[in-house]
């Protein structure tokens, strides 16, 4: 199974251009599963609810979802993509999973980062795993990485691959994701973005270095700080063996009666 990410410079507010760039990348490389950054269509640094309202879309009926579904259909690829979701009076920092047969699922970011809390409603539909035949897919978004419970919950629910759209600004995530993959014996695909955003005095620079990590915590592919699509060939079945020694299984050895939650 060919899996990968698209790392690129998202331009704030320019949804059409951002989506077109993604479409160009998809043309360049055959893949079964591609992960895009968090808020890949809108950009990150909202300064008002009005701004967010103008960019957010319903899922799966909005323009971005529909375009991604069409791309998935045309290129026979599954896509995980972060976007601002509008649902009634609420806005969510969401990720959707679409495939050749259409919309599959949506994850609403559970652990909001910093000023996201001003605009977004915290995710309210939990961590879910979707079986796409070739593999079982879990989604988490950016800052979810620091909570070990996020990846753990997805793995316990059966995820083989954790798709991780990101807009990283802190320096620690990429290394921590090696631990997330290793401790859960899952693949992880962190699709980060690059570029700098300025908005009303705030400035954020996104760190790039998107990566794909194996269930053994090995980096299978990593981007530098440029626009890039990278794919690697993986065997999702490897993520179903949780053994780490002949006598140790990461899941069977858990002793949840002693765990604080």
């Amino acid at each position: 199974m060919q899996v990968g990410f698209i790392q690129f410079k998202v331009f704030f507010g320019q949804k059409k251009e951002n989506i077109e760039k993604v479409a160009e990348f998809i043309l360049k490389k055959k893949a079964d599963l591609l992960v895009l950054p968090e808020l890949f269509n809108s950009g990150y640094l909202f300064c008002s609810l009005r701004e967010l309202h103008a960019l957010a879309e319903p899922v799966p009926d909005g323009m971005t979802s529909r375009t991604l579904i069409q791309l998935a259909r045309d290129h026979h690829v599954f896509i995980v993509a972060g976007l601002p979701e509008r649902a009634g009076m609420n806005y969510y920092n969401s990720a959707i999973l679409v495939g050749p047969n259409g919309f599959i699922g949506c994850y609403r970011k559970i652990h909001l980062f910093d000023t996201e809390k001003k605009w977004f409603t915290p995710g309210d539909n939990g961590f879910a795993v979707f079986d796409i035949g070739m593999a079982k897919i879990g989604m988490m978004i950016c800052f979810d990485w620091i909570f070990p419970e996020a990846a753990r919950t997805l793995a316990l629910k059966g995820a083989d691959i954790i798709c991780h759209p990101s807009n990283l600004v802190l320096p620690w995530c990429q290394k921590a994701m090696l631990t997330r993959s290793l401790e859960n014996a899952v693949y992880s695909i962190t699709a980060n973005r690059i570029g700098t955003e300025h908005n009303e005095g705030a400035t954020l620079t996104f760190t790039g270095h998107s990566q794909i990590v194996s269930p053994k915590g090995e980096v299978l592919a990593a981007a530098a700080h440029d626009e890039k699509i990278i794919t690697v060939d993986i065997d999702p079945v490897l993520a179903r063996d949780k053994k780490i020694t002949p006598n140790n299984d990461r899941f069977a050895d858990r002793r949840s009666e002693f765990y604080e939650i």
Copy 2:
């Protein structure tokens, strides 16, 4: 507060010599808290219950506990040390915490590694945190590192410093402990051993590289692969601030209603 570890070559079965070596190291350096390796007095590679029976001791009335208590009293230091505990018909891979005023607590390893399962009973008294005045101390042992729930549980129970006696043979722990410290905003002290043990055809080489990590996931001190006592000055109070941005607190932001356990 001056905290550190003693990394050394444990000789299997030679309890007196191993304890004497520790005593010599303690003389060399002033510290408030010192962490010793897992099974620091006995060595690791047991081949029979008879062998384990001969080396295990009751806690805190055995010779090793009493000697450590005396050392703690004489040098006004708190000590965390791994040792094989005998309790009735059971043997535990345990760590004890002793101080100038005597015995404080015992942790029985909850996640047993590989062939340890042949000899030891899995820990049955949970993860506990002990307030020694200067700091709150949690203990976990070696392979507990791969289960994020271990360090998380200790941190949620208030540990400022996770003392981590180890006999590491796999290559991943030291890096993973950066994530454990960072995700929980706690200090961690991994006291590993060096040397190779052979016993009835089995061979294990212990990896050294003991380390002390800050609540920000920075390595404050790290050993190479030699015998060493290393201490650093830390402020345990820093481990009580769980903020990672002005709007994010590692603990307050947890959403346990969505976590699988």
